[in-house]
C-alpha cells in the first residue's frame, strides 16, 4: 500500500507530467485562459487517461508482447486512444448528457494530447504491473489537473496586469509556467 502512495506522490508532484516531463503542453497553454475551461479539460483528461492507461497496458501485455509485435506499439496505442475517445464521447452523449455537456469540446482534443499517449508509453517503459499502471495513470492525470488549474488561476490574474506588448499572451504565459515549474522543481529528490 505504501508503495502505491509513494508512486502516486511521485507522479503528481515530483514527476509532474506538465512541469517536469514536458508532456501535454498544447492544452496547458491552450485551455488555461479561463478557470472554467481548465477544470473541464482536467476532468476530461483524468477520465480518459485512466481508461487509456489501463487498456493500452492490457493491449501491450496480452496482445503485443506474446506475439512479439512490440514494433507496432506506436500505431496500436494511437488507434486504441483515438477509438477510446470516440467511444467515450458517444457513450457519454447517450447516457450521461450532463457530463458530456460539461466536458464538451475537450474530449475530441484529447486524442492529440501527448500527455495521454506519453503516460501510456511511460507505463510500459517503467515496466509497471497492472495496479501500478492504474495508480500511475490516475496520479499523472491528477498532476496534470493540479498544474493546469494553478496555471489558469495565475493567468486570470495576469489578464488584469499591465504586460509589455511583445510579452503579451503566450510569451508571458510561458514565463509564468516556468516559475510554476520552478516551484514544482523543489519537490525533486523528495521521493
Amino acid at each position: 500500500m505504501a508503495d502505491y502512495l509513494v508512486l502516486a506522490i511521485s507522479c503528481i508532484f515530483v514527476n509532474n507530467i506538465l512541469l517536469a516531463q514536458y508532456l501535454g503542453n498544447c492544452p496547458f497553454l491552450g485551455t488555461s485562459k479561463k478557470m472554467e475551461t481548465a477544470i473541464g479539460m482536467s476532468m476530461a483528461v483524468i477520465f480518459v487517461l485512466v481508461m487509456a492507461g489501463v487498456i493500452t497496458w492490457l493491449t501491450d501485455t496480452h496482445i503485443l508482447k506474446p506475439f512479439g509485435l512490440e514494433y507496432l506499439r506506436t500505431i496500436s496505442f494511437i488507434l486504441v486512444i483515438a477509438s477510446l475517445v470516440q467511444f467515450v464521447e458517444m457513450f457519454l452523449k447517450k447516457s450521461i448528457p450532463a457530463l458530456y455537456a460539461g466536458l464538451g469540446i475537450f474530449l475530441p482534443l484529447i486524442t492529440t494530447n501527448c500527455a495521454v499517449m506519453g503516460v501510456c508509453l511511460i507505463n510500459i517503459k517503467e515496466e509497471y504491473d497492472f495496479l501500478s499502471a492504474l495508480v500511475a495513470s490516475f496520479s499523472y492525470a491528477v498532476g496534470f489537473g493540479v498544474a493546469l488549474i494553478i496555471f489558469a488561476g495565475l493567468r486570470e490574474r495576469i489578464l488584469l496586469a499591465r504586460v509589455p506588448r511583445p510579452l503579451q499572451d503566450t510569451s508571458i504565459g510561458l514565463v509564468t509556467a516556468g516559475i510554476i515549474a520552478l516551484a514544482f522543481f523543489a519537490f525533486k529528490g523528495m521521493v
Binding site: 503542453n25 498544447c26 497553454l29 507496432l72 506506436t74 488507434l79 492529440t112 503566450t170 510569451s171
Partner: protein, 201 residues
Amino acid sequence: MAKSIVQEFTKGLWAEIAPFRLVLGLCPVLAVTKSVENGIGMGLATTFVLVCSNLLVSALRKNIPQKVRIACFIIVIATFVTIVELVMQAYAYPLFQKLGIFIPLIVVNCIVLGRAEAFAYKNSVVASVADGLGIGMGFTLSLAALGAVRESLGVGTLTFWETPITLFGPSFQPFSFMVEAPGAFICLGLMLCGMNLLGKK
C-alpha cells in the same frame, strides 16, 4: 494558385515558423532541447514524418472520405513514425535513447496533424511536399536555436556530432537552471518575446 512552390517552402522558415508563430507542438520543443544535437535530431525526424505524411495525404486526398479523414491521417502519420523509430534504433541508437519516448510521440505532435488537415488535404502533391519541408526545417531551426541557448548557458558547450565545443573560459559557472524544466519554459517565453519584437507589427 497565388503562391509559388518557393513561397510555400520559405513561409515555414519565418512567417509561419511553427513553434513560435502558431504555438503548436511545444512538448518536444521544451523536452529535447537540452543540447543542440538533440534538437537537430528531433527536428530532422519530425521533418521526415511531415514531408512523407504530407506527400501521402495529398496524393490520397481524393480517396480519403471527409468524415474519417482524421483517423486516416493518424494512421498515415503513425506508419511513418514507426519507420523513423525503427531506422533510428538501427542507425542512431545513442540519439534514439536520448530522445526516448519523444520519438513515438511525434504521432501526437499537433504540427504534423495540423499540416495534413490544413494544407495537404487541400493542395497538390508538390506544394504539400514543399510545405512539409518548409515547416519541418522551421521546426528544426527553432529546436536548434532553443537548444543552442539552453546548452551554451546551462552547460557552457555546444555539441555537434558528439564533439562538445567549449564556449567560455575555465572560470565559467554553468547556469544549470537553463537545462532543467523551468529554464525551458522561461527561455522559450523570452525567445517568443524576442520574435514578437522583431516580427511584423
